[in-house]
Structures are given as structure tokens and as C-alpha cells.
């Protein structure tokens, strides 16, 4: 009957949009958003900036969702988008809040209601002072150096994975890791933390 093809086409588009939205929602789940927000917080040092960068990345991922050929690679694909969104935000704002100015790391329960881990060592006072120094040192790093440290020591990515995430070669990643650790280490009093030496 006249008009049916247009109606059918509309139904098909709507069904496709619904399927796409469900797939996107399934991938952009609580775990993904938590991880993305935490990463953005480490890079940008500001919770509001981290929220906006994560949203920008999610929006970009939605717009290009149809180009993701293998949903098994979603984490790496979205991670790259997020890394770029964080760098874009830094360039646009040209400011990085001091990581140490963030609200103090709160002891909080995890999603299952388990109490926070308590890092008990033989010398808790020194340990706290050492970690404060590390946090201060992270603030002074360039975004490229902070990025590779976060991806290596927080996200546990390999050199190759970091290279794919940041859009540079493995040699550059290795070089940046080396100098990021060196610069971070140099910002800490060598005498006070001689235990970090060989």
C-alpha cells in the first residue's frame, strides 16, 4: 500500500538505533565509566575536569560507535579516545590542578561493601611522607610523563598497549617511562628515600 515502504524504513531505522543504543549502554557500563573517570582524575587532577573529559570521550565514542568493528577491543578503543579527550582539555584550559589539592584520598568501601585496604608497613610515618612526596612529584610531571606512568603503574598496560593508547611508538613510550620515573625519583629526597635505591 502507498506509504508502507516509508513506514517500514522508519521502523528499521528506529530498531537499528535501539540496538545500537543498547550495545553502547552495555559497553559503557559502570566499570567502564569508573575506570575512565579515575584515569581522567589522575591525568587532569580535578574532579570537574575529569567528569567533563569523560563525558566528552563518551560522546565521541557514541558518534563513532558504528566504526568499532570488534567490540572485544572496546576498552582499548575507548581508552584512546579518553586519552585524547584529556589532552584536549589540558590544551584548552592550560591548567592542571595540583593532584595534592584534590580531596584527600578517602577511605571508602568498594562496590561490594568491603572495607578499604589498609597498607600497614613497618614504618607507617615514613611511608605516608614518602607517598606525599610521590604525589607532589606527579604534579610536577609533564602530561606525557604522567600519562605513561598512569598507564603503566595504574592501568598495568604493556609498552605496546601504551603505545597504541597514546599514539606514539614503543620506543617513545620506553623513553618517556624512563624519564618519567627519573624525574619523579629526582623530585624525592634521595637521602630520605635511599631505600628506593638498589
Amino acid at each position: 500500500m502507498e506509504g508502507r515502504p516509508a513506514v517500514e524504513a522508519s521502523d528499521r531505522h528506529e530498531a537499528a538505533d535501539d540496538a545500537r543504543a543498547r550495545a553502547f549502554a552495555g559497553l559503557m557500563d559502570r566499570r567502564t565509566l569508573d575506570s575512565a573517570y579515575r584515569y581522567a582524575t589522575l591525568i587532569l587532577g580535578d574532579p570537574d575536569e575529569a567528569e567533563d573529559a569523560t563525558h566528552d570521550a563518551a560522546l565521541s565514542a557514541w558518534r563513532h560507535f558504528a566504526e568499532l568493528r570488534d567490540q572485544e577491543r572496546f576498552d582499548a578503543w575507548f581508552g584512546r579516545i579518553l586519552a585524547n579527550a584529556c589532552r584536549d582539555r589540558l590544551r584548552a584550559n592550560r591548567r592542571v590542578r595540583a593532584l595534592t589539592e584534590m580531596p584527600a584520598a578517602r577511605e571508602h568501601e568498594d562496590d561490594l561493601g568491603n572495607p578499604p585496604d589498609r597498607h600497614v608497613g613497618p614504618d607507617p610515618t615514613d611511608r605516608i611522607a614518602g607517598r606525599d612526596a610521590i604525589a607532589a612529584g606527579l604534579r610536577r610531571l609533564s602530561v606525557e610523563h604522567r600519562e605513561v606512568l598512569v598507564l603503566r603503574f595504574w592501568a598495568d598496560l604493556t609498552v605496546i598497549e601504551i603505545a597504541a593508547r597514546t599514539g606514539v611508538g614503543p620506543g617513545t613510550v620506553k623513553s618517556r617511562l624512563h624519564y618519567a620515573l627519573r624525574n619523579l625519583r629526582a623530585s624525592i629526597d634521595a637521602d630520605e628515600y635511599g631505600r628506593y635505591a638498589r
Binding site: 538505533d17 543504543a21 566528552d56 563518551a58 563513532h64 585524547n84 584520598a105 599514539g167 620506543g171 617513545t172
Partner: protein, 483 residues
Amino acid sequence: MTEHDPFERDLRHVLDELAAVPAPDALRARVAAIPHLEPSGARAGGISRFLTARGRAFRALSTLAAAAVILVAAALVVTTLPGGGATPGGDGGATLPTRPAATGSPASSAPAATAGTVVIVPTPLPSAAASSSPALPGTPSGFEAASVTFVSSEDGWALGSVSCGSSAPCAAIVKTTDGGRTWTQATAPQTALHRAPVQPGSGAGVSGIRFANASDGWAFGPDLWSTHDGGATWTQVTIPGMGAGTMVVALETSDGMVHAVAWNGSGSYRIASSPVGTDAWQLSSVQIPVGAGPVPQIQLVLSGSAGWAVEVDRVVVGGARLSGGTWRSWTPPCSNAMGPALLDAATPSDLVAECDGGIWGTPSDPLQNGQHLYVSTDGGLAFSRSTASVPFSNVDAIAEPTAGSIVLGGTRGQATSVGVIATSTDAGRTWASYDLPAGSVVQYIGFTTPAQGVVIVETGTATHLYMTYDGGTSWTETAVAGS
């Protein structure tokens, strides 16, 4: 990463603490609203800009209220957002519209050189967004050089990667007979190009190439392949006495012998040697400790019948020295400087080292703090600290074409790293330096003759070869293949 390293353990704890807060509910609501605002994924940039700029206001609203306001705003906005999105092509998945990476953008014009100093005239480098340019005749399309070797001022080979339909890039080899000015495709071992650091579990393949002469050559790291017919055929070989899973982490050839540093993932590094015309590998008795840091690296240097191996794992851990045909334990320079060291030799007697002391602790000698050059004139038995200064802060590679002539490659600056090559012909008293394109990292410097040398530079995800024919005074990029 070693779980027992206290600094890295504390670093991980700090990062966990700084990232302790999960995504707020307002962010979840904003993300959940995205598919409803753009059902077909079409761009409506004014909406997103409005959302981003006013994001803080929406955090106080309920999900439903936020969505209602957004829908009203969407009906009023007509502008479009500038292009965004990433290029996760390296993950083997999506093909988003590309944009230039944060680093690696090509120089828009040749940087000026200071008078009387190094003149480098790089050809414009491709940006990350550039489409593949046509391959040069005879070279494989998309070839990226990873390692290069010359046996004379004319004859050389480069090992690199090409796409081959598998998840890992395939190894490819190109050859030159005119000193690097032109290259043609040559036969390569049927294996992958290994791009990750050579470590246990990092996979198979090769990452380096060396030839002793026109006939005898090796592709290595972690696997070992040899050719004795100029590269027409390649055979995978094993080093007797090292066991399965042994990785070759370094290989060099000189004076009719080839030497390789091998590691089976536990214990110490071992050195094996063979005459270049055969695969009669024999292990030496010397053992070099690996070190406790996360990325141990061996540097192998040969000059004539002499040789040196330096193991660096954040700090100088140990070494070995070749003398009279035998490898023996050796204490490298800067062993107590609490930092890394780089080494090269111009002759069996003349060596130079660049050390960065005081990074991982207090040196036993306070004078070793900071960056310094050290020279030896007795084959490495003794080193003296040079009064010359190192011209930039991050040195990644060193070469000594002739005694007293030093070429350094690395980066300077911290907020924005700039790749640089610096040359001195007076033992470091004066330097001529030249900045490479933004985002460049020098991977390797090597000299075949006092005048002819090659630098491998990584810019973004692409690699480039620069040749010098005048001892490092000037450099020109050699186009090995289309990118």
C-alpha cells in the same frame, strides 16, 4: 614491574589513592542521556558544547530533569562541534577520523641551524593523519625501519615491519648499495617484527639486524636467525646450552666474530660467540647479573677484537669485557653512580661513556651526581670524568666515530620534549646541535666509518633514518619506503 620494588609499590599505592573516587552519579546520567540526544549518532556540536560547559550545573539535577533541559536546548542549537575523536587504529579496531597526535606533528618548515653548526634538512615528516604515500620502487609499502646495519660505506640493510594480514607486523628487510641513498626490498626471515621490549613473555620475532660482511648476517631479538648467502635465505638457530625460551637481547659483530647476549628469563645474562661464517656458537663462562629493576637492558659494544657489555637496570648492574678472545667479568664506568650509563668505543682503546648519576640514590662519589662524560684510553680498564658538559638532559644514544668525536641523541625539555642530535669533535668541549621534529625520540646512533653514520628516529608511530656522511656535521633523512 617488580612487586618487590618499594618505589614502584608506593607509586602504585599513590595512584590508587588519587584515583579512589568512582564516577559520580551525575556523570552516569549525562552519559546515559547521550544516545537519546543523538539517536543516529549525528553530530550536533552545539548540544555537546552546551553540555560540557554547563556540566557542573547538571550535576545537581536528577537524570530526568537533566534530560528534559537537554532536549530543549537541542531544539535551539544549530552550530556544529569541531572534529574530535581518536584514532585507535593501533588497537586493530576502529577507524575513526584521524587527527594529529598530541606529539609528532611535522615541522612546517626546516628549523634554522645556528651558524657553523649542524645542518639537518629533514624532509617533511608524515603526520599521524596522513594517508599512505606511494612506496618507493622496490621497497615494501608501509615499511617502518627498526634496525639498520652497514658493512661498508655503500652496503647496508634495514630491518623493519610491514602489514601482512596477521595481528603482528611481519619482518621485512630492505637493502642499499649506495650508502643509504636508495633502498630495495630483500628477503627477510619468515617471522614477526618484535617491537616490545625483549622480555620473558613478550612474544616471538626479531627486532635487530646485523651483517658482518656481504654474506654473513643475523636477525635477532628475541629469536635468532642467520644468513650466510647475503640474505637470500635465512635459518633460525639456537644457542647450545641455553635451553628453550632463550632470548637474544643484543648482538654485534667485529673482527670476524659475532657475539650475542642471551637470557633465558631467569638467572644471569650469558654471552655466546661464533665465527661469522658458521653458526658454531659457544657460551662463555662469564655471567652478567640482570638487576632488580623493571626493564633490564644490555648494551653490547665492539671495536676490532675488543668488546664490552654493560647491563643497566635503572643503575649500572654489571658488565663483561672481551680481551684476547675471552669474555670476562668487568666493572663498567659509573657502577656506583646510582644511575644509567651509555657506552661506545672508537677503537679498542678509546671509549666514552655518558652517565646520569644520583637518580636512584646517593653516589659513593658526590662528583658523580648529574650528567657527565667519562673517557678511557686503555680499553675500559680505567675511566676519567671529563670536564665537558652534556648539552641536553635526556640522552638516549651515544656514538664515538673517532677518538674525541662524540655524537649524542636524545631529548631536551620536560614539559615538551624535543628530539635533538648533538655532535662534538673536541671531546665535548663544544657542541653543535639540531632539533628534530616535535615529538621525535632518537632510538639508535651508529657509525660505519668515521664519516658515515645513521640515526633511527621515532616520531609518533613512524620511524625515520637520518644519514651523515661528514662525521655528524650534517644529517639528511633517507626515505627508506613510503609510510
